[in-house]
Protein backbone atom coordinates (compact mmCIF):
# COMPACT_ATOMS: atom_id res chain seq x y z
CA UNK A 1 0.00 0.00 0.00
CA UNK A 2 1.38 3.44 -0.99
CA UNK A 3 0.82 6.74 0.76
CA UNK A 4 0.10 9.36 -1.90
CA UNK A 5 0.12 13.04 -0.89
CA UNK A 6 -2.00 15.79 -2.48
CA UNK A 7 1.13 17.37 -3.98
CA UNK A 8 2.04 14.04 -5.58
CA UNK A 9 -1.50 13.81 -6.95
CA UNK A 10 -1.28 17.33 -8.40
CA UNK A 11 2.10 16.54 -10.00
CA UNK A 12 0.68 13.32 -11.36
CA UNK A 13 -2.31 15.10 -12.93
CA UNK A 14 -0.16 17.84 -14.52
CA UNK A 15 2.31 15.23 -15.80
CA UNK A 16 -0.54 13.04 -16.97
CA UNK A 17 -2.18 15.81 -19.01
CA UNK A 18 1.12 16.90 -20.60
CA UNK A 19 2.20 13.31 -21.22
CA UNK A 20 -1.16 12.50 -22.81
CA UNK A 21 -0.79 15.33 -25.31
CA UNK A 22 2.70 14.16 -26.26
CA UNK A 23 1.79 10.50 -26.34
CA UNK A 24 -1.44 11.11 -28.28
CA UNK A 25 0.44 12.82 -31.12
CA UNK A 26 3.56 10.63 -31.17
CA UNK A 27 1.41 7.49 -30.76
CA UNK A 28 -0.40 8.16 -34.06
CA UNK A 29 2.91 8.71 -35.87
CA UNK A 30 4.31 5.48 -34.38
CA UNK A 31 1.20 3.55 -35.35
CA UNK A 32 1.23 4.84 -38.94
CA UNK A 33 4.98 4.18 -39.36
CA UNK A 34 4.58 0.74 -37.73
CA UNK A 35 7.18 1.59 -35.09
CA UNK A 36 5.22 0.24 -32.12
CA UNK A 37 7.65 -2.58 -31.32
CA UNK A 38 10.60 -0.28 -31.96
CA UNK A 39 9.25 2.06 -29.29
CA UNK A 40 9.17 -0.90 -26.88
CA UNK A 41 12.80 -1.55 -27.79
CA UNK A 42 13.76 2.06 -27.03
CA UNK A 43 12.05 1.89 -23.62
CA UNK A 44 14.05 -1.21 -22.71
CA UNK A 45 17.31 0.21 -24.11
CA UNK A 46 16.90 3.25 -21.85
CA UNK A 47 17.17 0.97 -18.81
CA UNK A 48 20.86 0.56 -19.62
CA UNK A 49 21.22 4.32 -19.06
CA UNK A 50 19.34 4.16 -15.76
CA UNK A 51 21.68 1.39 -14.55
CA UNK A 52 24.75 3.33 -15.67
CA UNK A 53 23.53 6.45 -13.86
CA UNK A 54 22.97 4.51 -10.64
CA UNK A 55 26.35 2.76 -10.89
CA UNK A 56 28.40 5.83 -11.84
CA UNK A 57 26.53 8.18 -9.47
CA UNK A 58 25.00 10.57 -11.99
CA UNK A 59 21.30 11.23 -12.63
CA UNK A 60 19.59 8.05 -13.93
CA UNK A 61 17.26 10.39 -15.89
CA UNK A 62 20.23 11.78 -17.87
CA UNK A 63 21.45 8.21 -18.49
CA UNK A 64 17.99 7.16 -19.65
CA UNK A 65 17.70 10.16 -22.01
CA UNK A 66 21.14 9.52 -23.58
CA UNK A 67 20.44 5.79 -24.02
CA UNK A 68 16.90 6.42 -25.36
CA UNK A 69 18.16 8.93 -27.93
CA UNK A 70 21.05 6.67 -28.99
CA UNK A 71 18.67 3.69 -29.09
CA UNK A 72 16.04 5.56 -31.09
CA UNK A 73 18.49 6.88 -33.70
CA UNK A 74 20.43 3.58 -33.75
CA UNK A 75 17.38 1.35 -34.14
CA UNK A 76 15.97 3.79 -36.71
CA UNK A 77 19.19 3.50 -38.69
CA UNK A 78 19.06 -0.33 -38.57
CA UNK A 79 15.42 -0.24 -39.62
CA UNK A 80 16.19 1.91 -42.66
CA UNK A 81 19.21 -0.13 -43.73
CA UNK A 82 17.96 -3.64 -43.12
CA UNK A 83 14.15 -3.33 -43.12
CA UNK A 84 12.45 -6.40 -41.65
CA UNK A 85 15.82 -8.12 -41.17
CA UNK A 86 16.58 -5.58 -38.42
CA UNK A 87 14.20 -7.49 -36.12
CA UNK A 88 16.87 -9.80 -34.70
CA UNK A 89 19.34 -6.97 -34.23
CA UNK A 90 16.73 -4.84 -32.40
CA UNK A 91 15.79 -7.80 -30.18
CA UNK A 92 19.41 -8.42 -29.17
CA UNK A 93 20.11 -4.71 -28.69
CA UNK A 94 16.99 -4.51 -26.51
CA UNK A 95 17.92 -7.41 -24.21
CA UNK A 96 21.65 -6.58 -23.99
CA UNK A 97 20.91 -3.01 -22.91
CA UNK A 98 18.29 -4.22 -20.42
CA UNK A 99 20.79 -6.78 -19.08
CA UNK A 100 23.44 -4.04 -18.76
CA UNK A 101 20.96 -1.94 -16.77
CA UNK A 102 20.14 -4.80 -14.40
CA UNK A 103 23.84 -5.71 -13.96
CA UNK A 104 24.93 -2.14 -13.21
CA UNK A 105 21.96 -1.55 -10.89
CA UNK A 106 22.84 -4.65 -8.89
CA UNK A 107 26.53 -3.69 -8.79
CA UNK A 108 25.72 -0.15 -7.63
CA UNK A 109 25.62 0.72 -3.95
CA UNK A 110 22.15 2.28 -4.24
CA UNK A 111 19.09 0.40 -3.10
CA UNK A 112 16.61 0.64 -5.99
CA UNK A 113 12.93 -0.23 -6.27
CA UNK A 114 12.87 -2.05 -9.65
CA UNK A 115 9.07 -1.89 -9.82
CA UNK A 116 9.14 1.89 -10.23
CA UNK A 117 11.15 1.59 -13.45
CA UNK A 118 9.44 -1.53 -14.76
CA UNK A 119 5.83 -0.56 -14.10
CA UNK A 120 6.07 3.19 -13.50
CA UNK A 121 4.72 5.46 -10.81
CA UNK A 122 3.35 8.78 -11.95
CA UNK A 123 2.96 9.87 -8.29
CA UNK A 124 6.74 9.98 -7.85
CA UNK A 125 7.30 12.31 -10.83
CA UNK A 126 9.71 15.08 -9.85
CA UNK A 127 9.48 18.79 -10.73
CA UNK A 128 12.43 18.33 -13.12
CA UNK A 129 10.53 15.67 -15.04
CA UNK A 130 7.43 17.88 -15.07
CA UNK A 131 9.40 20.76 -16.59
CA UNK A 132 10.96 18.39 -19.10
CA UNK A 133 7.51 17.08 -20.02
CA UNK A 134 6.17 20.63 -20.39
CA UNK A 135 9.01 21.64 -22.76
CA UNK A 136 8.65 18.41 -24.72
CA UNK A 137 4.88 18.93 -25.05
CA UNK A 138 5.48 22.43 -26.46
CA UNK A 139 8.10 21.06 -28.89
CA UNK A 140 5.87 18.19 -30.08
CA UNK A 141 2.86 20.50 -30.63
CA UNK A 142 5.00 23.09 -32.44
CA UNK A 143 6.71 20.54 -34.71
CA UNK A 144 3.46 18.75 -35.47
CA UNK A 145 1.65 21.98 -36.47
CA UNK A 146 4.63 23.51 -38.30
CA UNK A 147 5.30 20.42 -40.44
CA UNK A 148 1.73 19.06 -40.51
CA UNK A 149 1.39 18.80 -44.31
CA UNK A 150 4.81 17.30 -44.99
CA UNK A 151 4.56 14.99 -41.97
CA UNK A 152 1.22 13.70 -43.31
CA UNK A 153 2.75 13.14 -46.76
CA UNK A 154 5.73 11.34 -45.17
CA UNK A 155 3.50 9.08 -43.10
CA UNK A 156 1.20 8.25 -46.00
CA UNK A 157 3.80 7.52 -48.69
CA UNK A 158 7.43 8.03 -47.70
CA UNK A 159 8.84 7.09 -51.09
CA UNK A 160 6.67 9.58 -52.97
CA UNK A 161 7.52 12.29 -50.43
CA UNK A 162 11.22 11.65 -51.11
CA UNK A 163 10.65 11.82 -54.89
CA UNK A 164 8.91 15.18 -54.41
CA UNK A 165 12.01 16.48 -52.67
CA UNK A 166 10.46 16.65 -49.18
CA UNK A 167 13.30 16.35 -46.66
CA UNK A 168 12.29 12.88 -45.51
CA UNK A 169 15.54 12.12 -43.66
CA UNK A 170 15.30 15.33 -41.63
CA UNK A 171 11.68 14.54 -40.68
CA UNK A 172 12.74 11.02 -39.74
CA UNK A 173 15.59 12.19 -37.49
CA UNK A 174 13.29 14.72 -35.79
CA UNK A 175 10.73 11.95 -35.31
CA UNK A 176 13.29 9.57 -33.77
CA UNK A 177 14.56 12.26 -31.38
CA UNK A 178 10.99 13.03 -30.26
CA UNK A 179 10.31 9.30 -29.95
CA UNK A 180 13.36 8.83 -27.71
CA UNK A 181 12.41 11.75 -25.44
CA UNK A 182 8.72 10.83 -25.37
CA UNK A 183 9.60 7.28 -24.37
CA UNK A 184 11.36 8.60 -21.26
CA UNK A 185 8.31 10.66 -20.28
CA UNK A 186 5.98 7.68 -20.73
CA UNK A 187 8.44 5.45 -18.91
CA UNK A 188 8.05 7.70 -15.85
CA UNK A 189 4.27 7.31 -16.05
CA UNK A 190 3.69 3.67 -16.89
CA UNK A 191 7.14 2.07 -16.71
CA UNK A 192 9.22 0.50 -19.45
CA UNK A 193 7.30 -2.78 -19.63
CA UNK A 194 3.98 -1.01 -20.30
CA UNK A 195 5.16 1.81 -22.61
CA UNK A 196 4.03 0.13 -25.83
CA UNK A 197 0.44 -0.06 -24.57
CA UNK A 198 0.11 3.68 -24.00
CA UNK A 199 1.58 4.47 -27.42
CA UNK A 200 -0.52 2.00 -29.33
CA UNK A 201 -3.94 1.63 -27.67
CA UNK A 202 -5.29 5.23 -27.74
CA UNK A 203 -4.03 5.82 -31.31
CA UNK A 204 -5.45 2.49 -32.51
CA UNK A 205 -8.84 3.26 -30.91
CA UNK A 206 -8.84 6.73 -32.51
CA UNK A 207 -8.08 5.22 -35.92
CA UNK A 208 -11.11 2.95 -35.60
CA UNK A 209 -13.41 5.92 -35.01
CA UNK A 210 -12.51 8.28 -37.87
CA UNK A 211 -10.91 8.35 -41.31
CA UNK A 212 -9.63 11.92 -40.94
CA UNK A 213 -5.97 12.19 -39.93
CA UNK A 214 -6.42 15.40 -37.93
CA UNK A 215 -9.32 13.87 -35.99
CA UNK A 216 -7.33 10.67 -35.38
CA UNK A 217 -4.67 12.78 -33.62
CA UNK A 218 -7.25 14.77 -31.60
CA UNK A 219 -9.10 11.60 -30.54
CA UNK A 220 -5.82 9.91 -29.68
CA UNK A 221 -4.93 12.79 -27.33
CA UNK A 222 -8.44 12.70 -25.78
CA UNK A 223 -8.29 8.93 -25.18
CA UNK A 224 -4.83 9.28 -23.68
CA UNK A 225 -6.18 11.94 -21.30
CA UNK A 226 -9.14 9.77 -20.32
CA UNK A 227 -7.03 6.66 -19.67
CA UNK A 228 -4.26 8.46 -17.79
CA UNK A 229 -6.61 10.52 -15.59
CA UNK A 230 -8.82 7.49 -14.87
CA UNK A 231 -5.70 5.46 -14.03
CA UNK A 232 -4.45 8.21 -11.70
CA UNK A 233 -7.82 8.55 -9.95
CA UNK A 234 -8.14 4.79 -9.44
CA UNK A 235 -4.54 4.50 -8.27
CA UNK A 236 -5.07 7.39 -5.81
CA UNK A 237 -8.33 5.93 -4.51
CA UNK A 238 -6.79 2.49 -3.99
CA UNK A 239 -3.36 3.90 -3.00
CA UNK A 240 -1.56 1.73 -5.58
CA UNK A 241 0.96 2.40 -8.40
CA UNK A 242 -0.54 4.02 -11.52
CA UNK A 243 1.06 2.30 -14.54
CA UNK A 244 -0.80 -0.98 -14.58
CA UNK A 245 -4.20 0.70 -14.06
CA UNK A 246 -3.67 3.13 -16.96
CA UNK A 247 -2.63 0.40 -19.39
CA UNK A 248 -5.33 -2.00 -18.19
CA UNK A 249 -8.10 0.55 -18.88
CA UNK A 250 -6.58 1.45 -22.28
CA UNK A 251 -6.24 -2.21 -23.28
CA UNK A 252 -9.73 -3.22 -22.17
CA UNK A 253 -11.24 -0.23 -24.05
CA UNK A 254 -9.32 -1.20 -27.19
CA UNK A 255 -10.44 -4.84 -27.05
CA UNK A 256 -14.04 -3.84 -26.29
CA UNK A 257 -14.21 -1.36 -29.18
CA UNK A 258 -12.58 -3.86 -31.54
CA UNK A 259 -15.13 -6.49 -30.52
CA UNK A 260 -18.09 -4.10 -31.01
CA UNK A 261 -16.67 -2.92 -34.34
CA UNK A 262 -16.22 -6.49 -35.60
CA UNK A 263 -19.73 -7.44 -34.47
CA UNK A 264 -21.16 -4.44 -36.34
CA UNK A 265 -19.24 -5.40 -39.50
CA UNK A 266 -20.37 -9.04 -39.22
CA UNK A 267 -23.99 -7.97 -38.75
CA UNK A 268 -23.69 -5.67 -41.79
CA UNK A 269 -22.29 -8.51 -43.94
CA UNK A 270 -24.98 -10.94 -42.71
CA UNK A 271 -27.84 -8.50 -43.35
CA UNK A 272 -26.38 -7.91 -46.85
CA UNK A 273 -26.29 -11.66 -47.44
CA UNK A 274 -29.88 -12.14 -46.25
CA UNK A 275 -31.01 -9.32 -48.56
CA UNK A 276 -29.29 -11.03 -51.50
CA UNK A 277 -30.76 -14.42 -50.58
Amino acid sequence: MLEISHTALLHALIGGVLGSIICGIIGVIILEKRLVMMSGGIAHVSYGGIGLGLYAHFSPLIGAIVFALAGSLGIGHFNRRHGEKSDVMIGIFWSVSMALGVLLTQLSDIDVDFDNYLFGDIFSVSKTVLWMTFILALAVIFIFIAFYQTMKAYLFDEEYAAVQGIHVRTLEIVLYILLGLTTIVILMMVGLVLTVGLYAAPAAIAKRLTKDFKKVVIFSVIFNLIFVIMGIVIAYALQIASGAGIIFIAGITYFLLTFIDDMKKRRKVMSGESLNA
Partner: protein
Amino acid sequence: MKTALEVDHLTVMYDHLIALNNISFSVKEGDFAAIIGPNGGGKSTLIKAILNLVPVASGNIRIFGEDYHKAKGFVGYVPQQSAFDSQFPITVKDVVKMGRLPASLGFFHRFTNEDDEKVHAIMKELKIEALADRPIGELSGGQKQKVLLARALVTDPKLLILDEPTANLDPPSRKQIYELLQEINKKITILMISHDDEHLLHYASSIVYINKKVIYQGSEMKTFDMIMTTV
Protein backbone atom coordinates in the same frame (compact mmCIF):
# COMPACT_ATOMS: atom_id res chain seq x y z
CA MET B 1 12.57 15.88 -81.16
CA LYS B 2 14.11 16.38 -77.67
CA THR B 3 15.40 13.57 -75.52
CA ALA B 4 13.18 13.27 -72.44
CA LEU B 5 15.35 10.75 -70.61
CA GLU B 6 18.90 9.64 -71.18
CA VAL B 7 20.43 6.80 -69.19
CA ASP B 8 24.14 6.58 -69.89
CA HIS B 9 26.28 3.61 -68.76
CA LEU B 10 24.34 3.25 -65.52
CA THR B 11 25.46 0.74 -62.92
CA VAL B 12 23.62 0.23 -59.62
CA MET B 13 24.80 -2.10 -56.86
CA TYR B 14 23.13 -3.32 -53.68
CA ASP B 15 25.94 -4.09 -51.24
CA HIS B 16 28.17 -6.19 -53.54
CA LEU B 17 25.46 -7.41 -55.92
CA ILE B 18 25.04 -5.83 -59.32
CA ALA B 19 21.40 -4.82 -59.89
CA LEU B 20 21.99 -2.93 -63.14
CA ASN B 21 25.12 -3.39 -65.20
CA ASN B 22 26.28 -0.57 -67.44
CA ILE B 23 22.95 0.11 -69.10
CA SER B 24 22.31 2.85 -71.64
CA PHE B 25 19.12 3.87 -73.41
CA SER B 26 17.11 6.97 -74.16
CA VAL B 27 13.46 7.97 -74.36
CA LYS B 28 12.33 10.66 -76.80
CA GLU B 29 9.87 13.39 -75.89
CA GLY B 30 6.32 12.18 -76.60
CA ASP B 31 7.22 8.49 -76.37
CA PHE B 32 5.21 5.88 -74.46
CA ALA B 33 8.19 3.79 -73.38
CA ALA B 34 7.69 0.34 -71.90
CA ILE B 35 10.35 -1.07 -69.59
CA ILE B 36 9.92 -4.82 -69.46
CA GLY B 37 11.96 -7.78 -68.29
CA PRO B 38 11.95 -10.73 -65.93
CA ASN B 39 11.46 -10.56 -62.15
CA GLY B 40 14.70 -9.49 -60.52
CA GLY B 41 15.90 -8.04 -63.82
CA GLY B 42 16.27 -4.55 -62.35
CA LYS B 43 13.14 -2.74 -63.62
CA SER B 44 12.15 -1.26 -60.25
CA THR B 45 15.80 -0.49 -59.44
CA LEU B 46 16.03 1.43 -62.73
CA ILE B 47 13.04 3.58 -61.79
CA LYS B 48 14.43 4.15 -58.31
CA ALA B 49 17.77 5.23 -59.83
CA ILE B 50 16.02 7.65 -62.20
CA LEU B 51 14.09 9.09 -59.24
CA ASN B 52 17.27 9.39 -57.17
CA LEU B 53 15.96 6.91 -54.55
CA VAL B 54 18.98 4.59 -54.74
CA PRO B 55 22.65 5.51 -55.06
CA VAL B 56 24.22 5.09 -58.48
CA ALA B 57 27.60 3.30 -58.63
CA SER B 58 28.51 4.83 -62.00
CA GLY B 59 26.95 6.45 -65.04
CA ASN B 60 24.64 9.37 -65.68
CA ILE B 61 20.93 10.03 -65.86
CA ARG B 62 19.63 13.17 -67.55
CA ILE B 63 16.00 14.26 -67.67
CA PHE B 64 15.41 16.84 -70.41
CA GLY B 65 19.17 17.43 -70.30
CA GLU B 66 19.29 18.11 -66.54
CA ASP B 67 20.23 16.02 -63.52
CA TYR B 68 17.40 14.89 -61.21
CA HIS B 69 17.73 17.73 -58.70
CA LYS B 70 17.16 20.33 -61.40
CA ALA B 71 14.60 18.25 -63.30
CA LYS B 72 12.42 16.89 -60.47
CA GLY B 73 9.79 19.54 -61.17
CA PHE B 74 9.30 17.99 -64.62
CA VAL B 75 8.76 14.48 -63.27
CA GLY B 76 5.52 12.86 -62.15
CA TYR B 77 5.66 9.49 -60.42
CA VAL B 78 3.02 6.81 -59.89
CA PRO B 79 4.31 4.17 -57.46
CA GLN B 80 3.01 0.66 -56.95
CA GLN B 81 -0.14 0.60 -54.80
CA SER B 82 1.74 -1.42 -52.19
CA ALA B 83 4.06 1.56 -51.63
CA PHE B 84 1.54 3.38 -49.47
CA ASP B 85 -0.68 2.46 -46.54
CA SER B 86 -4.19 2.24 -47.98
CA GLN B 87 -5.64 2.26 -44.44
CA PHE B 88 -4.12 5.68 -43.74
CA PRO B 89 -6.90 8.05 -42.63
CA ILE B 90 -6.96 10.42 -45.58
CA THR B 91 -9.43 11.52 -48.27
CA VAL B 92 -8.90 11.29 -52.01
CA LYS B 93 -8.77 15.10 -52.35
CA ASP B 94 -6.02 15.33 -49.74
CA VAL B 95 -3.95 12.62 -51.46
CA VAL B 96 -4.13 14.48 -54.79
CA LYS B 97 -3.29 17.75 -53.04
CA MET B 98 -0.10 16.18 -51.67
CA GLY B 99 1.29 16.38 -55.20
CA ARG B 100 1.38 20.18 -54.78
CA LEU B 101 3.65 20.14 -51.71
CA PRO B 102 6.94 22.03 -52.11
CA ALA B 103 10.33 20.32 -52.27
CA SER B 104 11.35 21.26 -48.72
CA LEU B 105 10.24 20.70 -45.14
CA GLY B 106 7.10 22.74 -45.85
CA PHE B 107 7.35 24.92 -42.72
CA PHE B 108 3.76 26.01 -41.88
CA HIS B 109 2.75 25.19 -45.46
CA ARG B 110 -0.72 26.30 -46.54
CA PHE B 111 -2.28 25.27 -49.86
CA THR B 112 -3.40 28.16 -52.07
CA ASN B 113 -6.59 28.67 -54.10
CA GLU B 114 -4.51 27.89 -57.19
CA ASP B 115 -3.63 24.50 -55.64
CA ASP B 116 -7.32 23.79 -54.96
CA GLU B 117 -8.31 24.76 -58.51
CA LYS B 118 -5.58 22.59 -60.03
CA VAL B 119 -6.58 19.61 -57.87
CA HIS B 120 -10.22 20.04 -58.84
CA ALA B 121 -9.36 20.32 -62.56
CA ILE B 122 -7.22 17.15 -62.58
CA MET B 123 -9.81 15.17 -60.63
CA LYS B 124 -12.46 16.28 -63.10
CA GLU B 125 -10.24 15.30 -66.04
CA LEU B 126 -9.72 11.81 -64.60
CA LYS B 127 -13.42 11.59 -63.65
CA ILE B 128 -12.78 11.07 -59.94
CA GLU B 129 -14.23 14.33 -58.59
CA ALA B 130 -17.18 12.39 -57.10
CA LEU B 131 -14.68 10.48 -54.94
CA ALA B 132 -13.08 13.65 -53.52
CA ASP B 133 -14.26 13.22 -49.92
CA ARG B 134 -14.04 9.41 -49.75
CA PRO B 135 -11.27 7.81 -47.65
CA ILE B 136 -8.61 6.26 -49.91
CA GLY B 137 -9.04 2.88 -48.18
CA GLU B 138 -12.63 2.57 -49.40
CA LEU B 139 -11.75 2.73 -53.12
CA SER B 140 -11.36 -0.11 -55.62
CA GLY B 141 -7.92 -0.88 -57.10
CA GLY B 142 -8.70 0.96 -60.34
CA GLN B 143 -9.99 4.04 -58.49
CA LYS B 144 -6.89 4.11 -56.25
CA GLN B 145 -4.70 4.00 -59.34
CA LYS B 146 -6.51 7.00 -60.82
CA VAL B 147 -5.99 8.89 -57.55
CA LEU B 148 -2.23 8.19 -57.67
CA LEU B 149 -2.22 9.27 -61.31
CA ALA B 150 -4.00 12.51 -60.37
CA ARG B 151 -1.43 13.17 -57.61
CA ALA B 152 1.36 12.81 -60.19
CA LEU B 153 -0.37 14.96 -62.83
CA VAL B 154 -1.27 17.82 -60.51
CA THR B 155 2.24 19.27 -60.91
CA ASP B 156 2.02 19.37 -64.75
CA PRO B 157 4.93 16.96 -65.34
CA LYS B 158 6.69 16.57 -68.69
CA LEU B 159 7.75 13.00 -67.92
CA LEU B 160 5.42 10.55 -66.18
CA ILE B 161 7.03 7.47 -64.62
CA LEU B 162 4.79 4.58 -63.60
CA ASP B 163 5.74 1.46 -61.63
CA GLU B 164 3.34 -1.42 -62.34
CA PRO B 165 0.18 0.71 -62.40
CA THR B 166 -2.00 -2.19 -63.58
CA ALA B 167 -0.80 -4.78 -61.05
CA ASN B 168 -3.72 -6.54 -59.28
CA LEU B 169 -6.35 -4.79 -61.41
CA ASP B 170 -9.20 -6.64 -63.12
CA PRO B 171 -9.16 -6.61 -66.98
CA PRO B 172 -11.73 -3.77 -67.42
CA SER B 173 -9.88 -1.49 -64.94
CA ARG B 174 -6.60 -2.37 -66.62
CA LYS B 175 -7.99 -1.39 -70.03
CA GLN B 176 -9.35 1.85 -68.58
CA ILE B 177 -5.94 2.78 -67.14
CA TYR B 178 -4.18 2.08 -70.46
CA GLU B 179 -6.70 4.18 -72.38
CA LEU B 180 -6.27 6.98 -69.89
CA LEU B 181 -2.48 6.79 -70.24
CA GLN B 182 -2.81 6.84 -74.02
CA GLU B 183 -4.79 10.08 -73.71
CA ILE B 184 -2.25 11.55 -71.25
CA ASN B 185 0.58 10.56 -73.63
CA LYS B 186 -0.70 13.11 -76.16
CA LYS B 187 0.79 15.78 -73.88
CA ILE B 188 3.26 13.95 -71.62
CA THR B 189 6.12 11.49 -72.19
CA ILE B 190 5.49 8.21 -70.41
CA LEU B 191 7.93 5.65 -69.00
CA MET B 192 6.22 2.62 -67.55
CA ILE B 193 7.19 -0.76 -66.17
CA SER B 194 4.74 -3.61 -66.03
CA HIS B 195 4.45 -7.38 -65.98
CA ASP B 196 1.40 -7.03 -68.13
CA ASP B 197 3.56 -7.29 -71.30
CA GLU B 198 0.73 -8.10 -73.68
CA HIS B 199 -1.27 -4.90 -73.01
CA LEU B 200 1.75 -2.70 -72.43
CA LEU B 201 3.35 -3.64 -75.75
CA HIS B 202 0.06 -2.89 -77.51
CA TYR B 203 0.03 0.70 -76.25
CA ALA B 204 3.78 1.43 -76.07
CA SER B 205 5.63 3.25 -78.84
CA SER B 206 9.05 2.02 -77.72
CA ILE B 207 10.40 -0.89 -75.68
CA VAL B 208 13.38 -1.34 -73.42
CA TYR B 209 13.89 -4.94 -72.33
CA ILE B 210 16.29 -5.24 -69.40
CA ASN B 211 17.70 -8.11 -67.47
CA LYS B 212 20.39 -6.36 -65.42
CA LYS B 213 21.61 -5.02 -68.79
CA VAL B 214 19.74 -3.76 -71.84
CA ILE B 215 18.79 -6.72 -74.05
CA TYR B 216 16.76 -4.73 -76.54
CA GLN B 217 15.76 -1.15 -77.20
CA GLY B 218 13.60 -0.09 -80.10
CA SER B 219 10.12 0.13 -81.47
CA GLU B 220 10.12 -2.75 -83.92
CA MET B 221 7.83 -5.39 -82.47
CA LYS B 222 8.99 -8.05 -84.96
CA THR B 223 12.65 -7.59 -84.08
CA PHE B 224 11.73 -7.65 -80.41
CA ASP B 225 9.84 -10.94 -80.86
CA MET B 226 12.80 -12.45 -82.71
CA ILE B 227 15.20 -11.44 -79.96
CA MET B 228 12.86 -12.75 -77.27
CA THR B 229 12.73 -16.17 -78.86
CA THR B 230 16.52 -16.38 -78.65
CA VAL B 231 16.77 -15.10 -74.99
